[in-house]
């Protein structure tokens, strides 16, 4: 197929074929011997601009970049940047556009990555924007499902934990809705249930799902169990 997406901003921008393409390419890359892998991004520079702190997302991008022979620039703490002096986000990222071939951005503001993709001419990957989107996490989850089960279609998947504030479970559920014969089981305390807008979208897309408060009652014949932690940092008032 022709893959012509330039940026990875939201999993909602993807068609099933595009997800399949990325997962197939990832498999090919994973299977490459290290001596070939190191050629993939040789001579290229990735800018990782973490306006909001993160360890795993940032380091997994940097690790991938290094393994493919690339180099990286960027920051993960805005206190040391010119932002403190009042520099605009647009000015900051335009400067990094000059230094790099691809930009990975994490920002506390929803929409920051999409805004970046609109004003830059190099590809932008969203490393998480506020409580909104974290598409590469979703692609990784899909890849893991495919790798362990051979296919994403035809799976009973249980998703448990904080379903209200956990952005990864929202994105994963919507991405799974693009696949065939998926059964979803959501388990969470009543106060942390999947938001109505997500369940409504699943219903519109004809995905079958059930909702439970209790894990013991819910677990049965599942192919995949997906657990999340409580997203304390995204609770209102930090409570």
């Amino acid at each position: 197929m022709d893959f012509n997406m330039k940026h990875i901003i939201s999993i909602n921008d993807f068609q099933r074929e595009e997800i399949d393409y990325i997962l197939d390419q990832s498999k090919k890359m994973e299977e490459l011997p290290q001596k070939d892998k190191i050629e993939l991004f040789k001579g290229k520079v990735m800018a990782s601009l973490f306006f909001e702190p993160s360890t795993r997302t940032k380091d997994s991008f940097i690790s991938a970049c290094l393994k493919m022979g690339g180099n990286h620039v960027g920051f993960s703490d805005t206190s040391s940047t010119s932002l403190k002096k009042g520099e605009t986000f647009a000015d900051t990222i335009r400067m990094y556009e000059k230094y790099s071939d691809i930009l990975v951005i994490r920002h506390s503001i929803e929409g920051a990555a999409r805004y970046a993709s609109e004003i830059l001419s190099i590809p932008v990957i969203n490393g998480g924007d506020g409580a909104n989107q974290h598409p590469t996490q979703t692609l990784l989850d899909l890849y893991s499902i495919k790798k362990s089960k051979g296919s994403i279609d035809n799976n009973n998947i249980l998703i448990a934990g904080d379903l209200k504030y956990g952005r990864t479970v929202h994105s994963l559920s919507l991405a799974l809705s693009l696949f065939d014969n998926i059964n979803l089981t959501f388990v969470s305390p009543p106060s942390l249930r999947m938001p109505d807008e997500i369940t409504e979208m699943l219903r519109n897309r004809g995905v079958s799902f059930s909702i439970y408060d209790n894990l013991e009652e819910a677990v049965r014949d599942n192919d995949i169990i997906y657990m999340t932690r409580i997203q304390r940092e995204r609770f209102p008032n930090g409570a």
Partner: protein
Amino acid sequence: MGLENKKNYDFLIKDVKVPDLKNETFIVRDILILKGILQEISAKITNDIRVIDAKKNLLISDTIDIHVHTRDPGLTHKETLETVLKASARGGFSKVVAMPNTLPVIDDKEKYLDVIRRASKIKGARLFQSCSLSKDLSGKTLNDFEQLISAGCSCFSDDGLALYDSKLMERAMRSLKGSGSSLLLHSQSEGIAPEHANSEIFGVYRDVLLSELTDCPVHIQHVSKKESIEIIVKAKERGVKITCEVCPHHLFLNESNSDLRSSDFKVNPPLRTKLDSKELIKYFSSGFIDVIASDHAPHTSQEKKTSYEEAPYGFSGVETLIPVIFSELYKKRDLNIFKIIRAISINTSKIINADIKGLKTGIRPDFTIVDLDKERMINKEALISKGKNNPFLPYKAECDVQMTVVEGEIVCQNL
């Protein structure tokens, strides 16, 4: 109707220059108004009632300032309906749109109707009172739009307390879409100091995306950064129903000519860089900025005299907007005068769905006459507004408002 009053409803204006905004030409006319009703408009009218010689001064119909804080009820030490509506008329506005952040907040039918009733008794500009988007400006629960619209309210805004919750904003847009009322948004992002440019830029970006998603028309208030206007320009080019305003202080004042550490210049959004001002003027002149508004925010001099941190945000400005923009944009920079006229009249009327009365016979007209050749030194003492916190003053204007007519009545005349 007293004698004094009668005089203000029956008059003949001689030799006034009437703009034809469509063809961008002028035509000199006489206008006869009897009992507040426009009787005749033609090249030459004779009548022995009160004659006002307009000396070929410029007539602008349906002037509106879309962004004014009246402070009434509750904060009347700063301003009252009486002072602000009279100040607006002196400034050349026949209508103003008031923000709802009074004490209490205008967020229900009773409070809305009380303000409208009190304003209707004042001889000054007509008041369009906006109501808050969220109950008590809390940002938590949406207002009962249906009830307020049925009471006559046509504008909703949380102004300085931007509605941060994107889901709530989306719901507000979905509820108000197609209702004929307008959303006036002070775009700002949570978690970033409001003074930081990014707060405005991300806020504008979000509101533009939500407007696009919901297909609900949205008006962005007081754009101050080049990046914000660039977002708006792109959105307009792809057909998003976005309009925007700028304030005179962001057009002409910036860090190169104002002391930004002084509380006299404290405003939100803050004064920006010289480049931002230059870009705003450029985008205004290329037609991407729809409206010029004052964001009239009166405070007492006591309040403004405190330290920068403690001082409240905002400038008084409804009385100087027209003199300042005609002096700065038309007289000094020679910008297209029709563009300036539209930005304080019909463009604004369209946004808030106000009548565009124009000069049709049989109506009670709203218009202003501006003398573009009369110089006037404006100082704080001359302001009718209680808010003397105007950063332009003292200001040597290269024009003056000759008179303001509201519903066929002369509410302000300056000889």
